[in-house]
Symmetry: C2
Amino acid sequence: MLGTVLYGPGDIRCEEVEEPKILAPTDALVKLSASCICGSDLWPYRGLQPVIEPMHMGHEYCGVVVEVGSAVRTVKPGQFVVGSFCISDNTCPHCLFGFQSSCEQREFMSRAQAPYARVPLADGTLVATPDLPADDLIPSLLAASDVLGTGWYAADAARVQPGSTAVVVGDGAVGLMGVLAARHMGAERIVAMSRHKARQDLALEFGATDIVSERGTAGVARIRELTGGVGAESVLECVGTQESMEQAINCARPGGSIGFVGVPHGVQLDGQGLFFAQKSLLGGPAPVRRFLPHLMALVLERKINPGKVFDLTLPLADVAEGYRAMDGRRAIKTLPRV
Amino acid sequence: MLGTVLYGPGDIRCEEVEEPKILAPTDALVKLSASCICGSDLWPYRGLQPVIEPMHMGHEYCGVVVEVGSAVRTVKPGQFVVGSFCISDNTCPHCLFGFQSSCEQREFMSRAQAPYARVPLADGTLVATPDLPADDLIPSLLAASDVLGTGWYAADAARVQPGSTAVVVGDGAVGLMGVLAARHMGAERIVAMSRHKARQDLALEFGATDIVSERGTAGVARIRELTGGVGAESVLECVGTQESMEQAINCARPGGSIGFVGVPHGVQLDGQGLFFAQKSLLGGPAPVRRFLPHLMALVLERKINPGKVFDLTLPLADVAEGYRAMDGRRAIKTLPRV
């Protein structure tokens, strides 16, 4: 079958790879309905994360189960499933505490930019829909696997409350999902920090009430202005650079919370600065599995439409163009058909 | 009158200083019932914080109001009051959000190692008792001004819940108050990390269920062992060094919370490490004013006895010995009689 392999910065190839098969009794084999490219795939693509050996890409997935290992109990062939990008057993103490992304048996999914994928720990990782979903819901269900779940976690970690003010730093797909999540959690004012027209429009569609195009100090000043000099209760950090993290911290009010989901690259925090800022920080790879049943239900009931974040669809064979388009910010998020 | 002035590292003097007087209509003048030395006073005393000019020491205080400015409405001469070490108006957005230590008009109290003190923003800062309290309650009421309120905030920021496990890093007076707070908030298991017999004993008296004398990696390993390999829901960091902060973070479980109240000195946090650790951090100067009415009521009802943390009482004139005793860890906390 075809699969996506990253050989080095900028060198992404769609080539013949081995078909996956059941390796452990807890595995499931899934025929993927769609695949996608994640913002985090761009770190190694851009050379900001080392590529030590060829990387089989793709960690967001949904599709129909074709085979399960002998120990799998909760999903069966023929069912449509969505799984988290974090493989988890959903039974260990960390999973039961709602932090499946720190599961004692955690693995990160890979090789899902392909027509088939092997999902380890299927019982703990996959959630099945009651019936086969309508085709037009596939992009939204796929989004639940990571980008939506991650934006949702950012809002959850930033403790978005009904009636509160939330600021979203980062207008990538995760940031836009953060806007959607904050809206769904009842934030009254949602400020999207974005300087790109297409993303601003989508942010407004997902529920943003204000757009701030300034960044850094000017952006922080604008947030202060919008909040009567106070700052926001909740800030969703969806980038992962030193600048974006500082911007996020400075946009929050004292006692406010920052949920940070952009994987930090080169970020250093000064303890004393953080102390006197008096702001709460919680980040990490999103425990998507915690939110998955709820998010899938919202999609199936057509209460949210996160699939709109995909603005480029192309055949898997053209995946390199998908990476280029996201790298050049010509596309927000790419959906390669598998 | 006599007052305490720090001239440089190790050079603390009790000498004649100017008597305070009302300077602003919002001031109150308080005849102090007792004074005390704070662990944070030791940072400049030890030369770990620069002393640019002679520092008038003392920020924990309680006593009887002797005079108020013309705008003061909530306290009057003759009343016994306790105030936070953070001066606050208690009306600005940050105060109303419960973060009085980030008040728009914040000042840090000083000059309270003395018989009299001027308290700015008296209406927002001071809380009066219904009657004059019994003499034996004075140390506990004094504790509410900072050390108890700070330990309480550590437990609050670490989100201590009924039935949960809390670890306290640091066996100074604040750490011991953190133990007391965690107990009062219903933590089922409270681990005090301490290697000093007298402090261990007091920790047990305040409600610790376990003592861990190891530090650093060995201490973290011991906490893991005690929690079935999981880590603690809540960790109270009450020191402020790189080592203690790392110890605190590593003792928490994924999804757990660290409340840090030791003023960080030289602490740097790696963003990516914090991300993958997936632990919540909230610190800062404690918003004691938020907790003060509750803490004073608990003391007046004799439900808590935080005053036990004072294990050295001496005349103000001998304050230098109080600093030396705390610096040498011969005393946990010193109460100079004023």
